[in-house]
């Protein structure tokens, strides 16, 4: 599938009087990996939640594969099936083991027969080195393992787009790499991804384009080589300088 996967036009979103997104315009082609960078509170997470229809928007338009999903009469459940989202805090279901976490949505939403769903889940878990964790409950896993399970859980729905919301921010430094490897593998496999991240090195190596957000607007949108070495905007420069000073790049 080629062409435009995500198209966002003049998206506005407020929480009460607090305007978090102030006119976002963004277009993502199929198989493209876009990293969203910016300070906490710049609107990265909200943008991802809006694309997944977890947050109602105030104005603007979001289209997925050419279909407007923000209009009335849209079945949000149908839209969400096509999009996987992974959260900063994993959000695995603590009362289910890993296998059940992964098979819940396929069996209940796609009506995949249980045996088939479990076979597919085991195959995915195996691919990401988690097969021996299939029967464990989430509280038995390390943060890195939990986050990889969360990614597998999203992939089990065979999404066409993956949204990753600061998926390594809650992890101990030594666990970050194993999760980033998984994401890099997905990128190499051609998955369309929109990734909010603080990992600048990862963004530089993996993204096709990097967008810098500040105060609910995309300030700069460029290939990583350009944005990191030769930022056009003063605000981008200032942000990157702070990151360098904090030794994150």
């Amino acid at each position: 599938m080629t062409g435009e996967a995500i198209k966002i036009d003049d998206l506005h979103k407020s929480f009460g009087s607090n305007e978090v997104l102030r006119g976002i315009n963004l277009s993502v082609r199929s198989h493209e990996v876009i990293c969203l960078i910016g300070a906490s509170g710049s609107g990265k997470s909200t943008l991802l939640r809006c694309v997944n229809l977890l947050e109602p928007i105030n104005s603007g338009r979001i289209s997925l594969f050419g279909q407007d999903v923000t209009g009335p009469r849209i079945d949000a459940n149908l839209v969400r099936r096509q999009i996987g989202i992974v959260f900063q805090s994993f959000n695995l279901f603590p009362h289910m083991n890993v296998l059940r976490n992964v098979t819940l949505a396929p069996t209940k939403v796609l009506k995949t027969p249980r045996a088939q769903a479990e076979d597919e889940a085991r195959a995915l878990l195996g691919r990401f080195g988690l097969i021996d964790k299939a029967d464990d409950y989430p509280d038995r896993l390390s943060g890195g393992q939990q986050q990889r399970v969360a990614i597998v859980r999203a992939l089990a729905m065979r999404p066409q787009i993956m949204l990753l919301d600061e998926v390594t921010s809650a992890l101990d430094p030594e666990l970050v790499a194993e999760v980033l490897e998984v994401i890099a593998e997905l990128a190499a496999g051609g998955m369309t991804m929109l990734i909010a991240t603080h990992e600048m090195g990862f963004a530089r190596d993996t993204a096709n384009r990097v967008c810098f957000l500040e105060e609910g607007r995309i300030i700069e949108d460029a290939p990583p080589g350009e944005l990191f070495t030769n930022p056009k905007d003063d605000r981008t420069r200032r942000f990157l300088r702070r990151i360098v000073e904090a030794k994150r790049l």
Binding site: R49, N52, L54, A76, N77, L78, R80, R81, I83, G84, I85, F87, S89, N91, L92, F93, P94, H95, L104, A105, K108, V109, D139, R153, A154, M157
Partner: protein, 301 residues
């Protein structure tokens, strides 16, 4: 149930910290602690017995409340002499309790789900359930029992006015307790973090399926101790149905005392209720303790 039951003797000293287990009935571990707690228990009991024996009316009191022959007679019952068996009557309490419990669990859940709903179409039912909870939490249970037990038969409705009194009693228990238990459910539903709903909905699960498979199981797990607490209370309150003339344990005991002029029958009823409620109370303690340990384990990680 693991091998280390809550009161297993002979735990090595310091096992409290070693296994991460919580305080016990005989708190701490070690022989010294066991000796101290045993001695203090004996002393306290002895003091209570001495105070009782020294009381001027001790003999009369003992005869009126703890007469072995009267206790046995009231337990067995003798319809020819005009009194019923308390031991047989307790089965009615148990049956009322079991039926009421199941109905309460269902009705209370419905009420809680409606009160938690957000859809505008459900607004009138939401108001109605709020009114229901306010009303039945505020009105004393015994008045509800009277209202149903004496009121419904007086209305001369077809079917509804010709039921056994025990049914009116159970209906009153269900109405009253469901109001309380729905609040327990609500607290449980609120205790499940919103991010769990986000995660479920983001996978394409509908609101109903997310509730059924993600939110509710976690909510119920969190509220089992307070739920059991309410059910201990419910077991006792089945005695109030006796006010309708239903021969349950308390009513049977009361008939005995009025016939023979001895209150030992009430002691029998009390003992029977304790036999019912204490195991449930200990079971509740166990669950609370298990829950505390689990939280502790998570916190350490």
């Amino acid at each position: 149930m693991d091998a280390n039951s809550p009161m297993s003797p002979g735990q090595p000293a310091g096992s409290f910290t070693a296994t991460g287990r919580g305080p016990r009935l005989l708190s701490g571990g070690g022989t010294r602690a066991t000796v101290i707690s045993s001695v203090s228990t004996i002393v306290v009991l002895a003091v209570l017995v001495i105070i009782f024996l020294l009381a001027p009316g001790a003999r009369a009191f003992e005869h009126t409340f703890f007469s072995p022959t009267d206790m046995w007679r009231s337990f067995i019952g003798n319809p020819k002499l005009g009194y019923y068996s308390v031991g047989a009557a307790i089965w009615l309490n148990i049956r009322m309790f079991l039926v009421a419990e199941v109905l309460i669990l269902i009705l209370a859940l419905l009420v809680a789900l409606i009160r938690q709903s957000t859809g505008p179409a459900l607004f009138p039912i939401r108001i109605l359930t709020t009114g229901y909870v306010d009303f039945f939490r505020g009105v004393p249970l015994i008045l509800v029992i009277f209202a149903l037990g004496f009121g419904l038969p007086a209305l001369n409705l077809p079917f509804l006015s010709d039921l056994p009194d025990a049914v009116y009693g159970v209906a009153a228990l269900v109405l009253s307790y469901s109001a309380y238990v729905s609040e327990v459910y609500r607290a449980g539903l609120n205790s499940v973090h919103r991010s769990q709903v986000s995660a479920a909905r983001s996978l394409g699960l509908s609101q109903g399926i997310a509730m059924r498979f993600v939110v509710l199981p976690q909510a119920v797990r969190n509220i089992i101790p307070p739920l059991l607490n309410d059910f201990i209370s419910l077991q006792k309150d089945t005695a109030l149905v006796g006010t309708l003339g239903v021969i349950e344990a308390n009513k049977a005991a009361s008939i005995y005392s009025e016939t023979v002029f001895n209150f030992s029958s009430f002691t029998v009823a009390a003992i029977l209720f304790l036999i019912l409620t204490i195991p449930l109370a200990r079971f509740t303690d166990r669950l609370i303790e298990r829950d505390r340990r689990r939280r502790l384990a998570l916190g350490v990680q």
